[in-house]
Symmetry: C2
Subunit: 339 residues, 2 copies
């Protein structure tokens, strides 16, 4: 089981900021969980079985929380925030199911990945099912621009995943390409999760743009921290294995920094190890040492913090409110969660 956002928050900040956020969206988040389970229903039993396995494994629900909290900040009434938060989580879940096939993942959120239990075919199809259901939920809001934002985001996510696939094992990947992949595969959905709230609030282009910027920057910070955590200890508690990226040959920023700053023999080691068919635990240990030597984690974290600050600044467009404070907390949480 994963660790709840509140538990993690508590580890980092002590009780109070987590409680503020949790209290803010707790009721809505419970409605989202109900709607998730309701819309995963199907007479075809394998679909809810597989989907429930993933969805109930204790994900952080970060993306739906962003939709809920930004909608609350804009004082949106009614069920549309619930519908959109659910739609966003469905897109995320579909992406995870398909990613685990692409990555050949063994674990997801501390449980065996769905494709390990039900097979790749079922994971492909249930992902498609969730994706289709997410669009049906958006239709129910009656806001066509929401579908525009989330369909565009979905195609960009797929593009990002293909780019990442093509970049596997390529040590020469420029930092800009790494950042572009992170933006496409992660930050785009964060941006959409936030900016749809401006649509259903009829808040206008300026606020929509600010929320897009907020979500996009927060998503970048989140992905960079994720890449750091893959070489650090804490995330073992989050159900993701330390070293996943390394074992899969993914060139994330910490590794890229160590490679480009390394001496000739270090660079040779990276080239050989990423060219190899597989990598061992002791390879991971050495990789960690080299990354440490060249400040790969610190530099990546510095960039994550900068993105988090940009996210905070984007919120200055909005009037001060308890909701806005919670979103500011969230920006801190995302970068501090591993520390």
């Amino acid at each position: 089981m994963g660790v709840s956002l509140q538990q993690m928050y508590t580890q980092v900040h002590g009780e109070s900021p987590a409680k503020r956020l949790a209290i803010l969206v707790a009721d809505d988040l419970e409605k989202v969980n109900d709607l998730i389970h309701n819309r995963m229903k199907s007479p075809v039993g394998m679909i809810p079985d597989l989907a429930t396995h993933l969805v109930d494994a204790g994900g952080k629900r970060l993306r739906p929380m962003i939709t809920l909290a930004t909608s609350k900040m804009l004082q949106v009434e009614g069920d549309n925030p619930i519908r959109l938060a659910t739609a966003v989580e469905f897109i995320h879940s579909a992406t995870l199911l398909h990613d685990d096939i692409v990555d050949g993942s063994k674990l997801r959120r501390g449980r065996p990945a769905a494709n390990r239990l039900w097979g790749n075919s079922a994971s492909v199809l249930v992902g498609d099912f969730l994706f289709a259901r997410s669009f049906a939920l958006m239709v129910e809001t009656g806001h066509l621009p929401v579908l525009d934002i989330l369909s565009r985001a979905s195609s960009i996510i797929a593009e990002g995943e293909v780019r990442q696939l093509a970049a596997i094992g390529n040590l020469d990947i420029p930092k800009q390409e790494y950042l572009a992949i992170a933006e496409a595969k992660t930050a785009e959905l964060f941006a959409a999760a936030a900016s749809v709230s401006a649509v259903i609030a009829n808040a206008g282009a300026k606020h929509q743009q600010a929320l897009d910027q907020f979500g996009r920057s927060l998503g970048m910070a989140f992905q960079l921290v994720d890449d750091v955590l893959d070489y650090q200890g804490l995330n073992s508690k989050l159900g993701k294995q330390v070293g996943d990226d390394f074992f899969e040959g993914k060139i994330t920023l910490p590794l890229s920094i160590a490679y480009h700053s390394g001496n000739q023999s270090e660079r040779k080691w990276w080239e050989d190890i990423l060219d190899a068919d597989g990598r061992s635990e002791s390879d991971l240990e050495k990789a960690g040492q080299l990354i440490e030597r060249h400040n790969g984690l610190q530099e990546t974290m510095a960039l994550a913090i900068a993105f988090s600050e940009t996210a905070k600044e984007s919120l200055s467009t909005f009037e001060p409110s308890p909701c806005r404070d919670c979103l500011l907390d969230l920006c801190d949480f995302v970068v501090k969660r591993g520390y």
Copy 2:
């Protein structure tokens, strides 16, 4: 390369009915082809490469033709029929890419299946990309009910595929379940392809329902004939291999009829052969003989013809017109294409 609809039509009916249909939608179909290529574009080269490989392999474009012809019958002006026909073909293409992973297909439309050339991962992601792009196209029509129809259809298609997956090798599958799977995985998209025209034409619920019924029945006829063709000779020209269903252990209606009508030793043979890890060409020959003995193909065709007649009757709601005549021709073509 596949055989064009017109060539096939000519084989069946001689020149004239094919020409009528081809003339009717030729200009629009060319616009659809242009839009397909335009919307498959991506800075990520693998996406258009893989998608073009599938889309340019000479599919029949039956589903977009249904959207174009029904829109024309309802005198819809402007580009919305082109957009929707493209969206429908994108959903179909995404489904094919994902199906070929599920089925482990080697060939598609006479070419190596995309997953054989680019790998399963790329096929999963490019399918997702096309699916997302199809929804972006629907948004451009400005008609929310179109998104409702096609998102629902997409989730039903995925359900149908999962049901089919669960039914692999299960000889006891009732005829009703077989028909329900065919309806979900094939007829649902035909129904959507036709009924969206009523939406963009603002033609009202009665006409929308009639077009749904038309597409649904035509789709059933199409799927049943497809299952017949899998045990017959002609389809080798269409780029699908004869015996695909049998080799994959799919229980289609012709096989099911032969099994349920067979004597004890025949039933034993079916059970053993579908339980085996693989099936040979000589197994296929014997399967064909048993199906022949119990009129499996004739009975399946009789059902297909009945569905085709229902499709025709659904069109009686509409005033006589050259467009309606062409759609009637299409109903005949779908059942006669193998003869």
